[in-house]
């Protein structure tokens, strides 16, 4: 777990993760030939942007102006994201496995961040986001189960 000097740093860190997650799902969607599968990942990409907005609101509440998001490539994504090689592509089931792992890690990250943030309202938001990431994880698991059955 990284060291944070303030609640704002925690929230900015989480915003960076949401930006990276949005990019991750956008990239996955771009890899899908099937329109339904593409839509699934596009919807998740949108969800991550909504999470980002929730976190930005928390920063505004504590009286800080939210800076423009960092370049996604500059964010440390080593423990969450897996680079998708556009040349090799990725099949649907592997994409779902990546997504399941990503959401599980996001859940844990939010619960850990909630445990160290001092502002009560920010804590509520982080725990609420943790629950949403768990729901994402479950939805991907259900999709994966269906994809396996179809084989």
């Amino acid at each position: 777990m990284e060291e944070f000097g303030s609640d704002e740093e925690i929230l900015q860190f989480a915003i960076g993760r949401e930006v990276a997650a949005h990019q991750f799902y956008t990239d996955l969607a771009g890899q899908m030939d099937n329109a339904t599968m593409r839509l699934l990942f596009e919807n998740f990409a949108k969800e991550e942007l909504r999470h980002k907005a929730m976190l930005e609101l928390e920063i505004i509440k504590i009286g800080t102006v939210v800076e423009a998001p960092e370049d996604v490539d500059s964010l440390d994504q080593t423990d969450v994201m897996v680079a998708i090689d556009p040349e090799l592509g990725i099949d649907y089931k592997n994409a779902l496995i990546l997504a399941i792992n990503k959401e599980a890690k996001s859940f844990r990250l939010y619960v850990e961040l909630a445990a160290i943030v001092k502002d009560k309202q920010s804590r509520e938001t982080l725990l609420s986001l943790a629950q949403e990431e768990a729901k994402h994880e479950l939805r991907f698991e259900i999709e994966y189960g269906a994809a396996i059955k179809e084989r």
Binding site: A130, Q131, K135, R139
Partner: protein
């Protein structure tokens, strides 16, 4: 954590919650005509038993033996209806209660984590919090489907 004097108190409280959650899902499963839905609730019931076993292991690690009957009589959980009235409740209301119950369980484990420094116990609490959050999500999906089809 508020309302608890020791970690052992929290453990007993959590064990009691898991036992009640198990009974809740067993009662719901018994009402399901659809075998797939029955399986979902049976799986949730089984998960709650496994959670209980994990928590009991934590008690054992402290060198104590816990009598479930004793724990249940000491910690009455006001927000958890007994399983029996579930049998007379409509499915939508039962799902709504299940969602609230899982949310409360998630919060119990997440809040507990704030007070725990031991890495192994934190990991256990994180894992339980994740499973409860996923249970909540599962019930929410069922609830949304039910509302859409009404």
């Amino acid at each position: 954590m508020e309302g608890f004097e020791t970690d052992e108190d929290i453990l007993k409280f959590a064990i009691d919650r898991e036992a009640k959650a198990n009974r809740f899902y067993v009662a719901l499963a018994s009402r399901m005509a659809d075998p797939e839905m029955r399986e979902v609730f049976e799986m949730l019931a089984q998960d709650e038993l496994e959670h209980r076993a994990k928590l009991e292991l934590e008690v054992m690690k402290t060198g104590r033996v816990l009598s479930p009957e004793k724990a249940e009589s000491r910690f009455e959980v006001s927000d958890e209806p007994a399983a029996e009235p579930m049998l007379h409740m409509d499915f939508k209301s039962a799902l709504a209660i299940g969602i609230d119950k899982e949310r409360a369980s998630f919060r119990l484990y997440a809040d507990w984590m704030l007070t725990v420094e031991d890495a192994e116990r934190r990991e256990m609490l994180l894992s339980l919090a994740e499973e409860e959050a996923k249970h909540k999500a599962r019930l929410e999906i069922e609830y949304d489907m039910l509302v859409r089809n009404q």
